[in-house]
Amino acid sequence: MTQGGLCVKGWNVHEFVHDPTRLTRPLIRGETGFFETDWRTAIGLAAKRLQEIVAKHGPDAVACLSSSKCTNEENYLMQKFARCAIGTNNVDSCARLCHSSTVVGLTRAFGESAMTNPIEEIEGAQVVFVIGSNTTEEHPLIARRVVAAVDKGAKLLLADPRTIELSRFATIYARLRLGTDVALLNGMMSVIITEGLYDRGFVETRTENFEALRKTVERYTPELSAEITGVPSAQIAEMARIFASSKRSMILYAMGITQHTTGVDNVLAIASLAMLTGNVGRRSSGISPLRGHQNVQGACDMGALPDLYPGYQRASDSEVRTKLEREWGARPPEKPGLTITEMFDAALEGRVRAMYIMGENPALTDPDSSRVEKALRSLEFLLVQDIFMNETGRLAHMVLPAACFAEKDGTFTNTERRVQRVRRAVPAPGAAKADWEIISLLSAGIGYPMRYTSPKEIMDEIARLTPSYAGISYERLEGFGLQWPCSSPDHPGTRVLHHRRFSRGRGLFSPVEYEPPAERTSPEFPFALTTGRLLPQFHTGTMTRKSPTLEREAPECQVEINPRDAASLNVRTGQFVRVASRRGSIKARALVTDAIGERTAFIPFHYAEAAANILTNPALDPNSKIPEYKVCAVKIERCE
């Protein structure tokens, strides 16, 4: 998969694994702060608190957050814990915050929401269209494949508000305005239809609702599209022609597409572009929603979602619930639970009284973090399970020490649907335990025993209940793993989805109109702010900022602004600026660069001391409930 390569984080991962500040003992909050305790006391107390709250307020007063950093087995147990031990569908994970719009959008268009083609096929593409993905910094080992494709003669089309590193390899680089992706994609499709470049055969035999798409996109002439996006019309037309000219055109996208109030619309437009040109279901084509954690795909597959059970089986389907009940010995609830963003609203309103958070740091990762912190503080019982103390743990009543990926067995499902083994390489520090062990202990503590002796047994249960994982077992995962769907013990796994037939039958064109971001710039807040990651850091830095080598690479938050804006603000690189939105403000150093357009700013979200999410807008996509991390309005002032 990685061809023996690692990115800078992989090479230095040992630094956080062996960090002396790892959590090694369960911690209970006392009057003067946390004190250490043993497992028996901790589990006993946590179980008692959860039981009390369930008895008093009902199971839906408890909410669980599962984790894309944990194994499939652990995610499976967390949703089973919520559904059987507690009795609620209130289980979600940070996948909500990165790809829930992909889940909704691609399920509607294709019937399946995962990356359609394997990573290695990127190298064989004739055209690679990267939109809303800073692949080099966020998925370096996939960027490697993109560059390899260019080396072999592929054309690279790139659309991004920032001049990212891949632009050096791009045939066309389109710098579009923040949140105008639908207008760009509709503009491209309009050219493809008007100039007759679309794949008639594919459209007729494999898709439906083409006429509706035509009607909508035809209005997005290159000129109109140019006006909205800021990309010259000739460039839009040329991108359209290049994309449509090949039967091996691949689209790669990430958070730049999904984290908008129009996230689902963006995904639908991408799906339409791929279908329109016949680029689905064959080698080196299709759509690649790039997943950011090692197991975002798996966390979703395992049903750590409030409305879906393992393998995306619907909570509303009583036959599914009966099947699960037979195996689980408890009937899972029917009513859909709360999404991650809704959980915090519910906490503020007193509907949720307890949260069990495994391997996540919502105090920093969720938009409008001041509000999230208030919600977490309002809980009667907050139980956090992590490898380090973090911003969320500091608010908890109890913190349980977990083993990290290098200290346990299990499986991860990567971005190309490949289920792979992870193996214990080093012992966990102190009394830390694997998450699956902790969940099992806690579950037994509240009267729903989980009797697993190893993750392998959990996977066997997953295979029995999850059609797309039915053929997966540890024996078969030796070597390079298996790509789901893998429906039986002799099924070889599936390289390319939607070959000959879409999962839903015919591919569905869903025309979408351009809608501006929820928050627009104004005289008071004249900058459009977008957020993202830097290569050496990961997420809220709970791991990478513990690594001295990685932290040295990007030790502080820098706000990227354009030289013209810097001149009018009288700011130079290295000077402190205050960035304020309607929700809060942060102080950080300016980085003056023409990699970003005028009246636009970029802030990485890794830094607790200058947390980007104090600024971001919690406005949600109506269908997927993903927040609009990628656009909000801010003002910037020089700090005197």
Partner: protein, 340 residues
């Protein structure tokens, strides 16, 4: 030169014998990777191998190690360093890596010696197995004059002949190994030495990747400001992998961890490819972009090393090519430099 013969059938027997006197590190295949790791049983090792994915430098200079611990008491200060002094033997180190160790010996030696490195190095014997063909598609040791056969730096060199190895030594410690295990060795047959020469010539011919290193070294005098550095650097994804897998890269950083009245000093590998490597207080960076950083790596290996240590800083193992996620191939770069 002392030379005897070891039958392929008796390699396991020899390693079993060696394990009585040494912790033996040998090539082991694990899920498609080739590791040089301590073995518990001679049967674990393989002698059908190319070379380890990462260089064996970490056996002497680990990626992370504790240099010392300290504690402060009432009016006392205790400092404890516990260098490793295990008797070790690497069975099956490749010629390029023997050359890499010679380079590290010079770097960690000289006027001020590194105690941690040398406590391991001085207690480790090297049994080198010559290559009969390129280890990977990337290696080019014939150009750097570090393979496919070792010429110096080893205790025992084994060259594969048909169904046996020619075992040679140049050192007293190597002679002791051959002598104390004389039971498993056989005397030299008449044409064994000639057979070896033939095989070395044949092996050399199999190496198709070649670089005119002398030309590269000379060219470095006038290529500092050449555009090539920019075109190569734009592919670099700043992972540092080339320096981590390299048998000669020795840069490290030290960190102190203290809690209450005690603590420890750690040493981790560092890399000149990192932006933080050259950053000074106040933010000034001697090598602000990847262009300067990448160029530094090449200049260190093909110019500065020659001035400083009198040897090339590259042993032609090709691991940096295999590890590079930016698809940078040192052989292509060097050949381009040589053409200029």
């Amino acid at each position: 030169m002392t030379a005897v013969v070891l039958s392929t059938k008796r390699v396991v027997e020899l390693v079993d014998e060696l394990m009585k006197d040494f912790e033996v590190v040998a090539p082991v295949e694990s899920r498609g990777d080739l590791l040089l790791v301590p073995i518990d049983d001679a049967e674990e090792m393989t002698i059908e191998y190319s070379n380890s994915n990462v260089s064996p430098k970490d056996l002497f200079f680990p990626q992370a190690e504790r240099l010392f611990e300290y504690s402060v008491g009432r009016g006392t200060f205790r400092l404890r360093a516990r260098p490793e002094r295990r008797r070790r033997l690497i069975f099956g180190i490749r010629p390029c890596d023997v050359a890499g160790l010679r380079y590290l010996d010079a770097s960690f030696g000289g006027d001020i010696t590194d105690p941690n490195y040398w406590s391991r190095r001085a207690n480790t014997k090297l049994v080198c197995i010559a290559c009969t063909k390129p280890c990977t598609e990337s290696c080019f040791c014939t150009s750097t004059n570090t393979g496919p056969s070792p010429t110096t730096g080893f205790d025992v060199a084994l060259t594969p002949l048909r169904d046996r190895f020619l075992a040679e030594t140049l050192t007293e410690s190597g002679r002791r190994i051959l002598k104390s295990h004389s039971r498993v060795f056989e005397p030299l047959a008449e044409d064994d030495l000639a057979e070896k020469e033939k095989r070395v010539v044949l092996a050399r011919r199999r190496f198709k990747r070649r670089v005119d290193v002398a030309r590269v070294v000379e060219g470095m005098n006038h290529l500092f400001r050449n555009d090539i550095w920019e075109s190569v650097a734009k592919r670099c994804l700043r992972c540092g992998g080339c320096t981590y897998v390299c048998p000669t890269c020795y840069c490290f950083d030290v960190f102190d961890w203290s809690r209450d009245s005690s603590g420890e000093r750690l040493r981790h590998w560092d890399s000149c490819q990192f932006v933080g490597f050259g950053r000074r207080s106040g933010g000034l960076n001697a090598r602000p972009t990847q262009v300067e950083r990448l160029r530094q790596w090449y200049y260190h290996k093909f110019s500065y090393s020659i001035d400083q240590l009198g040897m090339l800083g590259c042993v032609g193992c090709g691991r940096c090519v295999e590890a590079c996620i930016g698809n940078i191939d040192i052989v292509q770069v060097l050949n381009e430099l040589a053409r200029m």
